[in-house]
């Protein structure tokens, strides 16, 4: 194998660094759990959990808007006793929670996190693909992993020797299979248009034509519904519906075993939202601007990025100032503590806004790398390529966070469906619409002379 000689060390470094993206879904859990709790509070017109705090000496209590609650939960789950009910199949019972959580690390490998980086290094043109594994069957691989992760729930239900778990796992099996079919078929129309199974190709097709949501609006809604059902959350949480099945397939689990199921569910939301953003919302591509334009005006693009972030910092400061004004007028007993905490946020916010504005001006004035063209492909410097990748990554994350919010929004807005309603929706409505959409798309694409 002569792979090693053909690559420069920078290429190796970036290729290895890309494996860090495997941990993105796990990091999303930290974002999603507070988002879900405070979001539920927002929907139901209450506060949500924000009372837990860390005591910093000589300063006071830091509550981080309820983020500390995560650490409390994690600590609680880690230190609880692991147990198995009597008569459970021990091996399967202990292995089952690990399956969905292990799949979580595999799934991000095929998602393109940024456009292909093409840059010059040491007299050589280096090209680095967006996803960790740039496979031509990327999307199918993702679906394969997603169908495998259902084994966790199924085995948990079968091995824990409880009727509720058992019924939950049967329902999970039926629902996973039926909605996977809907998901696959509703996505096929877009694949026909893009003419590829590779997610990189799909995103670049959307970048140069239109976004998937414009080309395939019906498929988008079918796909979104099927994907929400696939994650097994309300309104589709028939597999763990509290009024019927106690907690479904994880009734018998406690401590970190339950925690693994819990984290697996949230990571599944993360991966699904990334997938929806990649397939239907243009993935990493910036709206109305092509990658070539960004690379041609690298300094300006970075400046705009910095200023957008500075705007968010200022919006955060505005929020903090409004809160503190309200708090001073109120008669809350712990308001001095909270105002003390807000002082810290004000300081951080002003420093961040100042630094970001300065960085934006500096990159606008000083950073202006040249783009050379080799064999018809624009080749940048390493810095410009990394800058483009950063912009792409942030755009993708913003889109996926929006879809995470859609998940939470749907969960706390709609009531739970009954089991037969879920099956009816899947097999008789969404599947038919998806097939019809696929046929129409194929005919239109053929007549228009596309792929």
């Amino acid at each position: 194998m002569d792979i090693i000689e053909s690559k420069t060390w920078v290429e190796w470094l970036i290729t290895i660094a890309k494996f860090g993206f495997c941990f993105v879904p796990v990091l999303y859990i930290l974002l999603l759990i507070p988002m879900e709790r405070r979001g539920a509070g927002f929907m139901q017109d209450r506060q949500g959990p924000n009372r837990s705090y860390i005591k910093v000496p000589y300063f006071g209590k830091v509550r981080l808007f309820g983020y500390v609650q995560n650490m409390c939960d994690g600590t609680k789950l880690f230190f609880k006793e692991m147990f198995a009910p009597k008569g459970a199949k021990k091996f399967l019972y202990y292995v089952a929670p690990a399956i969905p959580f292990a799949i979580v690390f595999l799934s991000p490998c095929v998602i393109p996190w940024f456009g292909p980086m093409v840059f010059e290094w040491g007299g050589k043109v280096v090209r680095i693909a967006g996803p960790i594994v740039d496979s031509e069957v990327g999307i199918l691989l993702l679906f394969g992993f997603s169908s495998l992760s259902a084994y966790g729930a199924v085995l948990a239900g079968l091995s824990s020797r409880s009727k509720y778990s058992y019924l939950g796992s049967l329902r999970t099996t039926a629902m996973t299979i039926s909605y996977e079919v809907c998901q696959g078929l509703s996505m096929m129309g877009l694949l026909v248009l893009a003419g590829s199974f590779s997610l990189t190709d799909i995103v670049s097709w959307q970048e140069h034509h239109v976004w998937g949501i414009v080309a395939q609006p019906v498929a988008f809604f079918c796909f979104l519904i099927a994907t929400i059902a696939e994650t097994g959350r309300a309104p589709f949480d028939v597999a763990e519906g509290e009024p019927e099945l106690v907690a479904g397939y994880h009734t018998e689990y406690g401590a970190m075993q339950f925690g693994l199921f819990y984290m697996g569910e949230y990571s599944h939301i993360c991966i699904s939202s990334l997938l929806v953003a990649t397939l239907f919302l243009g993935g990493y591509s910036v709206p109305f601007v092509t990658t070539e334009t960004i690379q041609a005006h690298m300094g300006g693009s970075l400046a705009i990025l910095c200023w957008v972030l500075a705007f968010f910092a200022l919006a955060f400061l505005h929020m903090i100032y409004r809160y503190s004004r309200k708090l001073r007028a109120s008669a809350q007993s712990n308001k001095m503590e909270i105002l003390q905490e807000y002082k810290l946020y004000k300081g951080i916010g002003w420093i961040a806004a100042f630094v970001l504005v300065c960085a934006g001006i500096a990159s606008w004035m000083l950073y202006n790398p040249q783009v050379t063209v080799v064999n018809g492909v624009a080749v940048n410097t390493l810095g410009a390529a990394l800058g483009t990748a950063l912009i792409h990554l942030l755009v993708l994350l913003v889109k996926s966070v929006f879809f995470c919010w859609v998940w939470i929004w749907v969960r706390w807005t709609l009531p739970r469906f009954r089991y037969d309603h879920v099956m009816h929706l899947g097999w008789k409505i969404i599947l038919n619409i998806a097939i019809l959409n696929l046929v129409v798309t194929a005919v239109v694409a053929k007549l228009m002379g596309g792929n």
Binding site: E136, V137, F143, Y151, Y166, L170, T173, V181, M188
Partner: protein
């Protein structure tokens, strides 16, 4: 060299899990071992330069069909938790048959020259689709055959539905048949 190491790892897993299918006493463990075999076979397909076949193996067999098999096993068996004996009277003939077949296949494999080159691409998406569906090449390819197969699966699904209407309680087989038909349809598209 690297490909050979991966191949050995995957092959050991595949063969070991396949042995577990026979040796496990509870059918649920047998089914799960079969899933493991299929996954490692998918890995070997990918290693042979045909990632499409490997991924379809994961999606259709390990994902959908084995899931249904586990479903059926659990419906029929998990509640009672019965354990079948490993050997009985008929297993002598089965054992002889299996050993004979294994010997024949091993003999054939030893005689066949096997070139193992991980770099050549044998079953990419494009190659597979052009082999199956390209009508412009010599003859209609496998296109007509594929359609007939789809029709066969559809008719079998209809038959299963009719049979299930008469005798209640065999819903799982209907779902299995429809699932296969839909999986075929998906591949077709």
């Amino acid at each position: 060299m690297l490909a050979l190491i991966y191949f050995i790892i995957l092959a050991v897993i595949a063969v070991g899990a396949a042995c577990c299918v026979f040796l496990s006493k509870h059918p649920l463990y047998g089914g799960l071992s079969l899933v493991l075999t299929m996954l490692s076979l998918a890995g070997i397909y990918g290693l042979l330069g045909s990632p499409f076949i490997g991924v379809v193996q994961i999606m259709v067999y390990a994902g959908a069909i084995m899931m249904l098999l586990v479903f059926v096993i659990s419906v029929l068996n998990a509640a009672k938790d019965n354990r079948t004996p490993m050997f009985d009277g008929t297993s002598i003939f089965v054992l002889i048959g299996v050993l004979g077949l294994a010997g024949l296949i091993g003999f054939a494999l030893v005689l066949t020259p096997l070139g193992f080159d991980a770099t050549t691409l044998r079953g990419s998406v494009e190659m597979t689709s052009s082999n199956l569906f390209d009508t412009a090449q010599t003859g209609p390819g496998y296109f007509v055959l594929f359609e007939v197969l789809g029709l066969l699966l559809l008719s079998s699904m209809g038959a299963a539905v009719l049979m299930a209407k008469k005798r209640l309680g065999s819903d799982a087989s209907v779902e299995a048949a429809s699932e296969e038909a839909i999986a075929e349809e998906k591949e077709e598209k």
